[in-house]
């Protein structure tokens, strides 16, 4: 089922020995390497080409601190020898090198295990949507000086916000443009280009012998995404100053509100636990839970790969299958796991077009854009509803297992009583299990904003264990 012929390369790829593949032409590079794989004896193959232009400027205390410019590219190919596979990747586009690397891949594949589930998707389908509708056209590409100007404006606003802002880690403004091309030996060959702009600022506030740092950032698909540079600086500064005077709280069990940034992190673990790869590996606490409650009934989670300009948007997945919208959790009930072709075959299911692909490795499972449906309460109203507890604004550490669902992380936030914030809190941990935490999310805020590939409003969790004094 997985053997196929590889389309012969376009005439333009007739390359002389020692020549280089043209940097700008991803399609040509993918065609060339697929043809090289066929010639080397691969029965099928898929290939990913990535190229990018990145520029980052950093300013600190009003002075330019760094300027980084990069033009990079890479190509990766996965080859099959029947039901055996291997993958190779390189940043060297010399035609001879590409050929010998692909030959190496085919040779390596002879030694890996025969796996009845391995292979390309059964058939190819057109991309779900015209990339132009996902990634807005840029009408202005900023110069380096414009990037510097915005970083300076953000930092200046932050430094001027309050006399307690005493130092700076600086502000950065960055742009990148990426070209993605994916093709396989079934004849799929499509690509898209996307841009990203980021502006971030991080400052330090001091009082007595305490020093605190915080930051804020914005990112988006257009230069306009970063135009409110002063706002970014002011928000970074106010977040930082408000941390001064942080202290611990008494160990106990309290209501906890995760702000949208930390809620994103909490929901991100769920995206890992619903992976079909984790499912067939017995490596998720959600095994066997489809069709059953996995969150509080107030929770509905959707995946939307078509959000214009959102970072996870894509017209096809890492295996070239057309992406689609889906509901992951409906009123607390788990609707589906996420599958790539391999995990789906292994479990007798269909791919949900959730393959993600990197240059150096075959596909894995991942999500495009995940959205938690917002509620109706403002964050203030959520605080009132919770009464007394902790508002969490930063989480650190890696103490989360999607295998067992155990959750334990360091946290920073604000203690509130009767819905009113009293003081900042640091050096504490939050702990529980993901299963309990998700079921104890009793309400959501209305403050959903699409800032990332995982997006959530504030979430109110009842009864979370906090370790402190």
């Amino acid at each position: 089922m997985n053997t196929s012929s590889i389309p012969s390369p376009a005439s333009s790829t007739g390359l002389a020995k020692g020549s280089k593949i043209k940097l700008e032409d991803g399609e040509e590079a993918v065609r060339y390497i697929l043809e090289a794989a066929r010639a080397a004896g691969a029965t099928s193959a898929d290939a990913l080409y990535l190229s990018g232009v990145d520029e980052t400027v950093g300013v600190r205390k009003g002075e330019i601190e760094k300027v980084h410019a990069a033009q990079s590219r890479g190509i990766g190919i996965r080859v099959f020898a029947g039901q055996r596979q291997s993958s190779v990747a390189t940043s060297d586009f010399g035609a001879d090198h590409l050929k010998s690397l692909v030959e190496r891949a085919v040779a390596m594949a002879q030694h890996t295990a025969e796996d009845p589930y391995a292979g390309l998707p059964d058939r190819i389908l057109p991309p779900a949507i015209d990339p132009v509708r996902l990634f807005p056209e840029e009408d202005h590409i900023p110069s380096r000086d414009e990037l510097i100007e915005r970083a300076k404006a953000a930092e200046a606003a932050a430094l001027g916000f309050d006399p307690r802002i005493t130092n700076s880690e600086g502000a950065e403004c960055a742009r990148s443009r990426t070209h993605v091309v994916f093709g396989n030996s079934l004849g799929f060959l499509h690509g898209y280009r996307k841009s990203s702009y980021t502006l971030s600022c991080s400052v330090i506030a001091t009082s007595k012998d305490q020093m605190e740092r915080d930051y804020w950032y914005v990112s988006g698909p257009l230069w306009e995404s970063t135009e409110n540079s002063e706002e970014i600086g002011l928000k970074a500064a106010s977040r930082t100053v408000s941390r001064l005077g942080a202290r611990r709280i008494k160990t106990g069990t309290y209501p906890v509100i995760f702000d949208p940034e930390t809620a994103r992190s909490l929901i991100g673990h769920f995206a890992g636990a619903v992976s079909g790869s984790a499912l067939y590996r017995n490596a998720t606490y959600l095994k066997g839970r489809e069709g059953t409650p996995v969150m509080n009934p107030c929770m509905t989670l959707r995946e939307d790969p078509f959000l214009r300009g959102a970072p996870g948007s894509r017209p096809f997945d890492g295996e070239g299958l057309p992406t689609r919208k889906k509901t992951l959790v409906d009123a607390g009930v788990l609707q589906t796991f996420l599958f790539d072709t391999y995990s789906a075959r292994k479990l007798g299911r269909q791919s949900t077009a959730n393959a993600v692909r990197s240059l150096g490795d075959g596909p894995g499972v991942g999500i495009s854009n995940l959205i938690v449906e917002p509620g109706t309460l403002s964050q203030e109203a959520l605080l009132k509803k919770a009464g007394t507890g902790l508002l969490v604004t930063e989480l650190i550490g890696f103490g989360v297992s999607t295998v067992t669902g155990d959750y334990s992380r360091g946290a920073f936030g604000y203690w509130f009583e009767d819905g009113v914030i009293l003081h900042p809190v640091s050096e504490i941990t939050l702990a529980g299990t993901l299963d309990e935490i998700y079921k104890n999310i009793v309400d959501r805020g209305s403050d959903l904003e699409i800032r990332s590939s995982i997006n959530s409003p504030s979430l109110l969790v009842e009864g979370l264990r906090i370790a402190g004094e």
């Binding site: 990069a70 990079s72 490596a283 890696f398 103490g399």
Partner: protein, 478 residues
């Protein structure tokens, strides 16, 4: 090792003279304090096993040249993946724009490429030169050994990764340094199940070693035994208590405490900018007199070791804390110059595509005088933590966390039962003042550490004797 010395000469289309001209033009112009070209060619190979099958094998090649111009506090940086003099000159030109230098440079006189004085890792017996089936056989053996170890093992995932990095650093002083750096890594991860209770256990091993070291039967048997043992221990783990308590850390990898709590805070860039909780504290007491901590890049074969750092400076053993007193910071060339001191050989970068920063190598607490058994016996009520996952630190406030992956609840010096993984949190500048006992049993970790900073990952090592730390906050659930 003429193949290493000549490696880039053979690859760069063009002469050493053209490089010398391009670099000299910017490096020797006024307002430029430092400049370098970093040539890198890296081959990585990886193999992975799950469900009893070696399903994946692969190889990656990356090569490129990073160009860096430093002027005061400013850094201009660009890279190219084409090893042509024209592209290299363009990268240099792009990097130099940050230093509004007045030009007037002249060609450098470059030294013949030279190998470093240190010789900490093998240049033969490299894993990449061995036939593929030998490497696949290692993974098959691991699967068999783990499943033989216990019938409760329901999944074995194992991976092997090998890297060989060849680099040539062309410095502004005309010195040209070449090195070839191997890195091997083995990881075994198992899931054990009893009823509905699923738990994981893992063991990692690695270093700058040859192939034979990783493939030895004793090494593989130990790795599998440890991974399975940890999973079985976790099957009987009870919920971890929460709150502030005394903690005994076992030897080896728990040294991640040092890395997070103080190591990052002593990196030169944060201290030059005054953004670290340790800024301006040289000569002050920051730890109990029992603590002496060094960063040592010269330990043969260790994961964090290097003959020279990524600026061509020989690595060294740097005393960070001596008998509790803060002695020094970790420096690269730029931060050392700005702070009026010398590089400690800690200028590191992930690759040609990343700029240099001060980073740790192997960060180690030297052994003390107490019998480790006595340290555990002294614990009235608390946690004995022998293995950890990752950690993280907020440099400015000093708050750090690290997550236990194998730990026990102790009362009156006796281990009562294993506890579930939990996060420990503390304050970097305080935590080492709370160390009240240091054991004789210093050991280095098994070679698993990867440190992330500003988006760059580099391999590192840690080492710790058994220590007792009073008053750490334990993030349990009961």
């Amino acid at each position: 090792m003429s193949d290493i010395v000549r490696f880039f000469e053979d690859r760069v289309e063009g002469s050493q003279e053209s490089l010398a001209t391009a670099l000299g033009e910017v490096a020797l112009s006024s307002e430029v304090d430092d400049a370098d070209l970093y040539f890198e060619h890296t081959t990585r190979e990886h193999y992975s096993l799950e469900d009893g099958l070696v399903k994946k094998a692969g190889q990656e090649v990356s090569q490129g040249v990073g160009a860096r111009i430093v002027s005061g506090e400013k850094t201009g940086f660009a890279f190219t993946e084409e090893l042509s003099p024209r592209q290299i000159a363009l990268a240099l030109e792009s990097a130099r724009r940050i230093a509004r230098g007045s030009g007037g440079g002249r060609p450098l006189s470059l030294s013949r490429p030279g190998r470093p004085g240190l010789d900490l890792y093998p240049t033969t017996d490299l894993a990449l030169d061995r036939p593929v089936p030998e490497k696949i056989e290692i993974l098959a053996t691991i699967d068999r050994l783990c499943r033989t170890e216990s019938s409760r093992v329901v999944q074995v995932m194992a991976s092997l990764a090998f890297e060989q990095k060849t680099l040539q650093i062309v410095r502004a002083d005309g010195q040209v340094v070449v090195d070839r750096i191997p890195l091997t890594r083995l990881n075994v991860s198992v899931i054990a199940q009893e009823g509905e209770n699923r738990q994981t256990g893992s063991y990692g091993w690695g270093g700058r070693t040859g192939f034979s070291a990783i493939a030895s039967p004793e090494n593989l048997a130990h790795a599998c035994r440890e991974a399975v043992r940890m999973a079985l221990v976790n099957l009987s783990a009870k919920p971890c208590p929460s709150g502030t308590m005394d903690v005994v850390l076992g030897p080896g990898w728990p040294g991640i405490l040092l890395h997070e709590a103080i190591g990052h805070g002593l990196e030169g860039d944060f201290n030059r900018k005054g953004t670290s909780a340790f800024s301006g504290r040289i000569g002050q007491r920051v730890a109990s007199p029992l603590c002496t901590i060094v960063d040592d890049g010269t330990l043969p074969g260790r994961r964090g070791s290097l003959n020279v750092d990524d600026e061509g400076t020989p690595t060294q053993r740097t005393v960070l804390i001596e008998n509790g007193i803060l002695k020094g910071y970790l420096q690269d060339r730029q931060n050392a110059r700005l702070m009026g001191t010398r590089s400690t050989g800690n200028g590191r970068r992930e690759s040609y595509a990343h700029p240099v920063m001060p980073r740790m190598t192997n960060t180690v607490m030297l052994p003390g005088e107490t019998d480790p058994a006595e340290i555990l016996a002294s614990l009235d009520r608390g946690i004995y933590a022998v293995n950890f996952g990752g950690g993280q630190v907020d440099i400015t406030s000093g708050k750090f966390v690290f997550s236990m992956s194998e730990a026990y609840y102790v009362e009156k010096g006796k281990i009562l039962h294993p506890v579930k993984g939990a996060t420990l949190i503390g304050n970097g500048p305080d935590v080492l003042t709370q160390v009240c006992m240091v054991g004789t049993d210093m050991s280095l970790d098994t070679g698993v550490g990867t440190c992330g900073k500003d988006g760059q990952s580099v391999p590192v090592g840690v080492g710790l004797p058994t220590i007792r730390v009073d008053g750490l906050t334990v993030g349990g659930t009961t």
